[in-house]
């Protein structure tokens, strides 16, 4: 453990809806370069945490900082520009735009081109557009969608849309990406592809927080796992520790799964 400041610090995050506390005083840190999984049963508050951290829902209490910069209370688009991007559980894409344009849109607020320049044909704009097109093609290649670069996003399958969303979240060179259920409803071949993509992106230096229901996926992919139950963090550590933590097994995995995990199934 180095003494450097964590990339993401979350302190005392709390969110209440109509009398129910969806997120209850959750705190954690994410080191730069880590791949952290966030698991928990339905209603444990995982998606709410994602929404709060990314500025899509207001938190009632708590603070969070990205690389020392305060993100608390800021609106979604500013948090994205500050370097924290996310994907959505209900996979979102611009159906009528081509895949490449989908990616180019994702980059345009972060490449330093001002409004007036945007309307002209100046060198700055052309350079920025060329750079984002190149990066877009790279990312499409990484996620295996390069051949559809000029196709409208509407033609993609569900799993392909998820890959596109991951690529889009990467376009603006974020410091930290939060993936919200990247493999939910996706077939096993595609799950393996997503896993490969995440490994590759992490190798290029991106920090990832992955929220998922698919415990197997998280356990094999992440070096660190946080477990949430009923809005509270009940465990935080490497998969081996989580697998055998009695509280986790009891509250979340249930006796049958607990037995399975105890026998070392991945």
């Amino acid at each position: 453990m180095t003494a450097t400041r964590a990339l993401l610090e979350v302190r005392g995050l709390t969110k209440r809806y109509l009398g129910v506390t969806a997120v209850d005083d959750v705190a954690f840190e994410v080191e730069a370069g880590a791949v952290v999984g966030l698991i928990g049963p339905n209603g444990s508050g995982k998606s709410t945490i994602v929404d709060c951290l990314s500025g899509f829902q207001p938190a009632d209490e708590g603070r969070w900082l990205l690389d020392g910069h305060e993100l608390t209370g800021r609106p979604g688009h500013l948090i994205a520009r500050a370097g924290l991007t996310r994907t959505f559980q209900t996979v979102r894409a611009y159906d009528e735009l081509t895949l490449l344009d989908n990616l180019r849109v994702a980059a345009q607020e972060s490449d330093g081109v001002g409004w007036l320049q945007a309307l002209g044909r100046g060198a700055r704009l052309r350079a920025a557009e060329a750079a984002s097109a190149a990066r877009g093609r790279d990312l499409l290649a990484t996620v295996g969608l390069a051949e559809y670069a000029a196709a409208p996003a509407a033609i993609l399958s569900y799993g392909q849309r998820k890959l596109l969303a991951i690529a889009a979240a990467m376009m603006a060179r974020p410091k930290l990406v939060v993936l919200d259920e990247p493999v939910a409803g996706v077939n096993p071949t595609m799950i393996r592809r997503v896993e490969q993509v995440i490994h590759q992106l992490n190798a290029e230096g991106v920090t990832l927080v992955i929220v998922e229901h698919n415990v197997d996926f998280i356990m094999s992919l992440c070096r660190r796992v946080i477990v949430l139950v009923a809005g509270r963090k009940i465990a935080d550590g490497p998969p081996s520790l989580i697998r055998s933590d009695p509280r986790v097994l009891a509250a979340y995995l249930g006796p049958a799964r607990a037995a399975e995990l105890g026998h070392g199934h991945p």
Partner: protein, 325 residues
């Protein structure tokens, strides 16, 4: 797709043809159609920017149009201002009003904005009718004087219908050029992103409010200026400048080919500006027809004719190899 230079050439030829019309015919009826086309193209182009590109259903355009008209009329008749300044001021006032109602209601929701824009248009009509000390009430300001456009070195008295044709057509070309530059730029791309998936756009750093306000203010500015010119063509400004008829017509122009299509809306404006007169329908029947078209469009062709064609076009991408791996 035709090559860029060919399209540019065709556009230039088209513009040249439009400007040649008054030389080829002195027929006032034709010139009137031209003025109508020019004016509606600016109105529908602005509505397309707001609704077609940014996805914001707005009924406020006619309000901006009339505000521009009244402002220009008052500044010229009461203040002795030159026409260009009157119209420009009308445009800027309209843009300011647009920003105010936009900023206050867009923070709520699209529903709220649609209803507020509708009531704003209605309110404009009521104010024009009832604030007699300002707007002269239901009689309006008739007998607007022949305007003089003080171009550097060349004062231009707009005394003939052909003069107004040149003025309005000229402004329409400028307005369409401005709109074209915006929608083909990354600003236009951002607006489309806001329309197609606002939450996704936000997660990519795009501020939806900023782009909605930009579209609204720009459309208001253009509508206000063309309103300022248009009332001098009519030589009268009265509350009928806020008539719902304008709103209904612009909506049809935007919807029929498909909201969001630059050339589609421009083409629809041309056809719809000329067609009704050619068909010799009374206004009422024309509105019944438009209403029916609107209903049919919403039921069967929500994306307009162009949208339907685009969907058919999509099929060429649907190949067996696209099944999820």
């Amino acid at each position: 797709m035709t090559p860029g230079w060919l399209r540019a050439l065709l556009v230039l030829l088209g513009i040249a043809a439009l400007f040649a019309v008054p030389r080829l015919t002195g027929n006032e009826y034709v010139l009137a159609l031209g003025v109508s086309f020019a004016t509606f193209s600016v109105l529908s182009g602005g509505l397309n920017l707001v609704y077609g590109y940014t996805g914001l259903l707005s009924f406020a355009q006619v309000g901006f149009f009339g505000i521009g008209g009244y402002t220009a009329a008052l500044l010229v008749t009461e203040g002795g201002w030159p026409l260009w300044a009157g119209a420009a001021s009308g445009g800027m006032l309209a843009a300011l009003v647009g920003l105010v109602i936009g900023y206050s209601s867009l923070r709520l929701s699209r529903h709220a904005f649609a209803i507020v824009s509708l009531s704003f248009a209605f309110l404009c009509m009521i104010v024009a009718r009832d604030w007699v000390s300002l707007t002269r009430g239901a009689m309006g300001i008739p007998g607007l004087p022949v305007p003089v456009l003080d171009l550097p070195g060349l004062p231009w008295r707009l005394s003939r219908p052909a003069d107004f044709y040149y003025l309005l057509m000229g402004f329409a070309v400028i307005a369409q050029a401005v709109i074209y530059v915006v929608v083909t730029s990354r600003l236009g791309r951002a607006m489309q992103a806001v329309k197609l998936n606002e939450a996704l756009a936000q997660s990519q750093g795009i501020d939806p409010l900023r782009y909605k306000l930009l579209a609204l203010a720009l459309s208001a500015l253009l509508a206000g200026i063309v309103g300022g010119f248009f009332v001098f063509y009519l030589t009268i400004v009265d509350p009928s400048i806020f008539d719902f008829y304008y709103t209904e017509t612009m909506l049809i122009m935007v919807i029929i080919w498909g909201p969001g299509s630059f050339w589609g809306v421009l083409g629809a404006s041309a056809v719809l500006a000329a067609l009704p007169d050619l068909l010799r329908f009374t206004t009422d029947l024309r509105m019944v027809l438009y209403g029916a078209v609107l209903i049919a469009a919403m039921l069967v062709f929500p994306g307009g004719v162009g949208g339907w064609l685009r969907r058919r076009h999509l099929r060429r991408w649907r190949r067996p190899s696209l099944a999820a791996p």
